[in-house]
C-alpha cells in the first residue's frame, strides 16, 4: 500500500516536472520573440520610444502598443522567474520527505525481494527528480543574472582542482591525462560558474570515455580544448547542447541531459563560445573565451 502510494507520488512529481519544463520551453520562445522585437526597436529609429516620435499620431499609437507589449513582457519574465524559483524550492522539501520515508520503509522487517526492488526504484527516480530540479534552478539563476560578481580566475588552477576531484574515477578507468596548462591565463568570471562549467566538461570526458582512454587538455590565451577518446556519436555534435538530448548510443539511461546545455548557458552569459567536434569516437570541446 505504502509502495503504491509512493510510486504514485513519484509519478506525480515527474508529471509536474514535465509540465514545468514545457512551461519553460514556451517562455523561452516568448523570450526569443521579444529579443527579436527589441533588436528591431534598437535598429530602427522610427520605432524609437523618444518623445518626438510620440508626437506623430501614428507613431504614438505604435509607441504605446510597443510600450504595452514591453510591460507585458517584463511582467511575464518576472512571473517566470518567480514561478521557477518557487516551484523548485517548494519541490525540495516534499522530495526530502518522500526520500526519508522510503529510507524508513527500507528498514521494515520481513521485506521481500519485490519490496526492496520497488523501494529501490522509488529512491532512484526520486534522486533523478531532485537532480533535475537542482539543474533547473541553476539554469534559471544563470538566465536571470543570478551570478553577477566576477573575479579574475586562473584557468589552469581551476582545471587542476577538477582533476583532483575526479582523480579516483580517472584512476579507476585507467584514463591517461595529457595536459598543456600555462599558468598565466585567466578569465573574468564568476567562480561558481567556472567550477560548474569545468565540472560538467570533465564529467562528460570521463563518463563517456573508454577504459584505458585518454583526455587531452590544451589551454592557450584564446581557448581551452578538451579532447577525449570515447564511442562514436549517433547524432550531430551540435545537438548535444540541447536540453534533454543525450546520445542514444548509450543504452543505460544515465545523466539528465542537461550538463552541456548548462555549459552553453554559462558561455552565452559571458558571450564566450563553445563548440563540440566529433570524429570517429574522438570528442573535442572547444571553449573560446571572449
Amino acid at each position: 500500500m505504502t509502495t503504491i502510494l509512493s510510486v504514485s507520488l513519484v509519478f506525480t512529481l515527474l508529471l509536474l516536472s514535465y509540465v514545468f519544463i514545457q512551461y519553460q520551453v514556451l517562455l523561452d520562445r516568448i523570450q526569443s520573440d521579444y529579443t527579436h522585437l527589441q533588436n528591431l526597436i534598437e535598429e530602427d529609429r522610427t520605432f524609437s520610444l523618444k518623445e518626438e516620435v510620440f508626437q506623430l499620431p501614428e507613431s504614438a499609437v505604435l509607441g504605446r502598443l510597443i510600450a504595452g507589449v514591453m510591460d507585458d513582457y517584463k511582467d511575464i519574465r518576472q512571473k517566470k522567474r518567480q514561478f521557477t524559483e518557487n516551484a523548485s524550492h517548494e519541490l525540495q522539501t516534499p522530495l526530502a520527505i518522500i526520500q526519508g520515508h522510503a529510507e524508513i520503509l527500507l528498514q521494515a522487517p520481513k521485506l521481500r525481494k519485490v519490496d526492496y526492488e520497488a523501494i529501490g526504484a522509488i529512491m532512484y527516480q526520486l534522486k533523478k527528480v531532485s537532480r533535475l530540479n537542482e539543474a533547473l534552478i541553476l539554469l534559471t539563476k544563470i538566465e536571470h543574472n543570478g551570478f553577477s560578481s566576477n573575479t579574475r580566475m586562473f584557468i589552469a588552477q581551476s582545471v587542476e582542482e577538477q582533476l583532483e576531484d575526479f582523480e579516483p574515477l580517472i584512476k579507476a578507468k585507467n584514463i591517461e591525462i595529457k595536459k598543456q596548462l600555462p599558468l598565466n591565463i585567466s578569465v573574468e568570471m564568476n567562480d561558481a560558474l567556472l567550477e560548474i562549467l569545468l565540472c560538467n566538461l570533465f564529467k562528460n570526458a570521463i563518463k563517456y570515455n573508454v577504459s584505458r582512454g585518454y583526455i587531452r587538455i590544451v589551454l592557450n590565451a584564446y581557448s581551452l580544448e578538451i579532447t577525449n577518446s570515447g564511442y562514436p556519436l549517433n547524432q550531430a555534435a551540435e545537438q548535444m547542447f540541447l536540453r534533454f538530448k543525450r546520445d542514444d548510443s548509450f543504452q543505460k539511461e544515465e545523466g539528465l541531459g542537461l550538463g552541456l546545455s548548462i555549459v552553453r548557458r554559462i558561455c552565452d552569459f559571458y558571450q564566450h563560445t563553445i563548440r563540440y567536434e566529433h570524429e570517429a569516437g574522438t570528442h573535442r570541446l572547444i571553449w573560446v573565451f571572449n
Binding site: A96, I97, G120, Y124, S130, K203
Partner: protein, 227 residues
C-alpha cells in the same frame, strides 16, 4: 546523546524524530528561530541540527549566538538547508557550524554526520568503535580484528565506518556513493567503483577470518550486521 532539531517543516521534523529516536538519541525539537533560541539558552545539547530558513529569521543567527558563548562551545552544530551554493556552505562553516548538509539528504548520511560531529565536539563517542572482535580506530583510521591488523585503503575504511555508524540498517548504494564522492557523481557512474571497493573490503575482512559483517540487500544496498 541529546540532540535538538530546529526545523519548521512539520513532516520533515517528524521524519527525523522517528528515525533518530530509533537510534537511541534523546530528541527535542523547535519549529521556529525563537523557540530554538529559548531551548539552547535553557538546556544543553550535544548536537543541534538547524535549518536556515526559519520562521522568525535565519538559522545562522543561532550559530552566531552559540559560538559567541563559552558555555555552548562544546555543542555540535549541523546545518541542514536547501541552499546548495558553495558560498553558503563556506559562510556557515566560517560562522562556526561543524557541518553542512544540503536538502534533500539521506537520513543515513545525517546520522553518520551527527555521530562524527558529536565525537569531535563532545567526545560522546570513544576513539574506537567495537563490534565483537572488530575494532575501528577512528583517529588512526585503522581496523583490527582481534590482534591482527586489517590494511584498508582510505575509501574502504570510509565505507566500513559509514556502514558501521548505521549498523543494523539498510544503507542504499546511492547513500554510500554520495558519502564517498559527493553529490556530483551520477549513480551509474559511481556504482561500478563502489562495487569494486566493497568487493575488496569483503575480501580483506574474510581473509582476517572475521566473518561476514557486510550483508548485501537485494541490489539496493548493504547492511552492517553487528550481533
Amino acid at each position: 546523546m541529546k540532540i535538538l532539531i530546529i526545523e519548521d517543516e512539520q513532516a520533515l521534523l517528524e521524519l527525523m524524530l522517528k528515525y533518530f529516536s530509533r537510534e537511541g538519541y534523546l530528541c527535542e525539537f523547535a519549529g521556529s528561530l525563537k523557540e530554538g533560541f529559548r531551548k539552547v539558552t535553557n538546556y544543553s545539547y550535544d548536537c543541534v541540527i538547524v535549518d536556515l530558513n526559519l520562521p522568525g529569521g535565519d538559522g545562522s543567527k543561532l550559530i552566531e549566538m552559540l559560538r559567541g558563548d563559552e558555555e555552548h562551545n562544546q555543542t555540535g552544530v549541523l546545518v541542514v538547508s536547501a541552499r546548495h551554493a558553495v558560498q553558503e556552505r563556506v559562510k556557515m562553516l566560517e560562522l562556526g557550524a561543524d557541518d553542512y548538509l544540503v536538502k534533500p539528504f539521506n537520513l543515513s548520511e545525517l546520522n553518520a554526520r551527527i555521530k562524527a560531529v558529536a565525537r569531535r565536539k563532545t567526545g560522546q563517542f570513544s576513539k574506537s568503535i567495537e563490534y565483537g572482535n572488530l575494532v575501528l580506530e577512528l583517529d588512526k583510521r585503522t581496523v583490527r580484528f582481534g590482534e591482527s591488523q586489517i590494511d584498508l585503503t582510505k575509501k574502504e575504511f570510509d565505507i566500513l565506518l559509514f556502514l558501521a555508524r548505521n549498523k543494523n540498517r539498510v544503507v542504499t548504494k546511492n547513500s554510500i556513493a554520495e558519502h564517498l564522492w559527493g553529490d556530483h557523481m551520477d549513480e551509474t557512474f559511481s556504482y561500478d567503483f563502489l562495487y569494486a571497493h566493497i568487493k575488496n573490503l569483503r575480501r580483506k575482512l574474510s581473509e582476517a577470518n572475521c566473518g561476514d559483517y557486510l550483508q548485501t540487500v537485494y541490489g539496493i544496498g548493504y547492511k552492517f550486521e553487528a550481533v
